[in-house]
Symmetry: C2
DNA sequence: TTGCTTCTGATATCGCATGCACTTGATGCA
DNA sequence: TGCATCAAGTGCATGCGATATCAGAAGCAA
């Protein structure tokens, strides 16, 4: 009844052409495909924020219900998230929140460092005054919430990197950086230390300075160190025992001890 | 009748788990989702080989018919190709083969150079004997067809870069490189000179040599020059007048001349 | 009357929901 | 422990309403 047709208010409101940020009919990836994208974005957010735990099952029915759409839309969104690497599709079994291994995490960070290096090279010395203002403002906001709003802090930190990517004007780069930042968020949530998973704000500021100065070499170096630091904070072995066998190993040992 | 159900021989044969190249059930992007992927691959190939001209309409019905599936599958394949950038989706209008502008082409090449730089850094000095043999063999095959089989030559050239990416073992990298190589193929076909759109084979050989020698710096330099050369050959203005307005401009001028 | 613009109906195709068959994993039973 | 039965949920095709484009008709100006 509530899904009788596109009259469901929630999904309709989403469908209205709100954020059409792109240039008019110019570049490739045209206007959003509405509902699928809405569900995709919602799920992505939920996964990144760990509202959906890694490994959690994502039944098409349940997602359709939750978003007020049919399984068709849910299914398509899941397919795209699978391409992004945030969801794992098991044939005939369904979709699950990705549960990346530590090695996969390392791979993602390797690619991210490479991509952000391109961003840095594209931007060094080419920032316009207005863009500089936006960046400075962003860093200031990061500084403001730093220390007393963990969630927002992490969100802004990711946003900083996306902002840089967008400033290149290179849509391909934007897409890839968006993807790896998402995946890194998930990986950080899984393996990072609870309270150090955000970027160092001061490092962001330094990077902006180097970009403005037009010192490409230094900017790249700073960015790379910055990401290396994030990665090393993220990819700690300590929380890497998500694998059930590792988690259960000590218990199993205890039991074996009893038996012996 | 022929689409009564999964009895259609063509699509079934495709569905059988043939190429499951990936490691068993290990990493993220699990087993292929069969039919959708088959259609996606078929369309991708057709686009890259220019059997489907840039800008050509891709109706769901027609694609479904062609592949012996329903619109559902065709639709999903088109959606994924849109994410890849090979297809453009216009809301309520349908799908079209991407028609990238020269600027978009440049963007893709920028990202490709960055990605392949990562590949090179990952590989330098770490190739195992078996892998070296595979690479040498591939270059030899490129040399063999070079000059008298344009199509195969281009295919092998792209394959060389994919091969390198795969050797890194980094699945994220593999996916991104695969995508940009596809898009570069399309761009080369659109804007490149007819007979120089393939990679220089000798350059491939040199890159392999540098990788084996473990000279990361030189390998990166070679790779970057190589791709810069490909890009410069590709992104010529001369064929950039695909935009109808540009193509017709001289004719319009003539008419205006008559009128005046 | 001729040519141009605008309106309206027809058609093709999309967006989405839903139904049916089939696979998979679970449960009960020998 | 091994096997048959069953339920849950995916995989896919298809139907229905919606939307955009196009052809032709009507209206209007020259």
């Amino acid at each position: 009844m509530n899904i009788s047709r596109a009259k469901s208010g929630a999904s309709r409101s989403v469908n209205d052409p709100t954020a059409k940020g792109k240039g008019p009919p110019a570049s490739g990836e045209a206007a959003t495909i509405s509902r699928t994208e809405a569900v995709q974005d919602g799920l992505r957010q939920a996964i990144i924020e760990q509202r959906l735990q890694p490994g959690a099952k994502l039944p098409e029915d349940a997602i359709g219900d939750a978003f007020g759409t049919s399984r068709t839309i849910a299914r398509e969104a899941l397919g795209r998230l699978a391409v992004e690497g945030l969801v794992e599709l098991k044939p005939n079994r369904g979709a699950f929140v990705a549960n990346p291994t530590l090695d996969e995490g390392r791979d993602v960070f390797v690619v991210r460092r490479g991509l952000e290096r391109i961003v840095t090279e594209c931007l060094a010395g080419r920032l316009k005054p207005g863009e500089i203002a936006v960046l400075r403002d962003h860093v200031a906001r990061e500084l403001a919430v730093s220390g007393h709003n963990e969630v927002e802090s992490i969100r802004l930190a990711g946003e900083f990197h996306l902002l840089l990517a967008r400033l290149t004007g290179n849509q391909v780069l934007v897409r890839y950086v968006t993807e790896v930042v998402s995946r890194c968020s998930l990986i950080l949530a899984m393996y990072g230390r609870p309270h150090s998973s955000d970027c160092g704000v001061s490092e962001h500021g330094e990077i902006v300075d180097a970009l403005i100065a037009g010192n490409a070499g230094r900017a790249c170096e700073l960015m790379d160190h910055h990401l290396a630091a994030v990665a090393s904070r993220a990819l700690l072995q300590e929380k890497a025992e998500r694998d059930i066998r590792d988690v259960l190993a000590p218990y199993a040992a205890r039991i074996r001890g009893l038996g012996a």
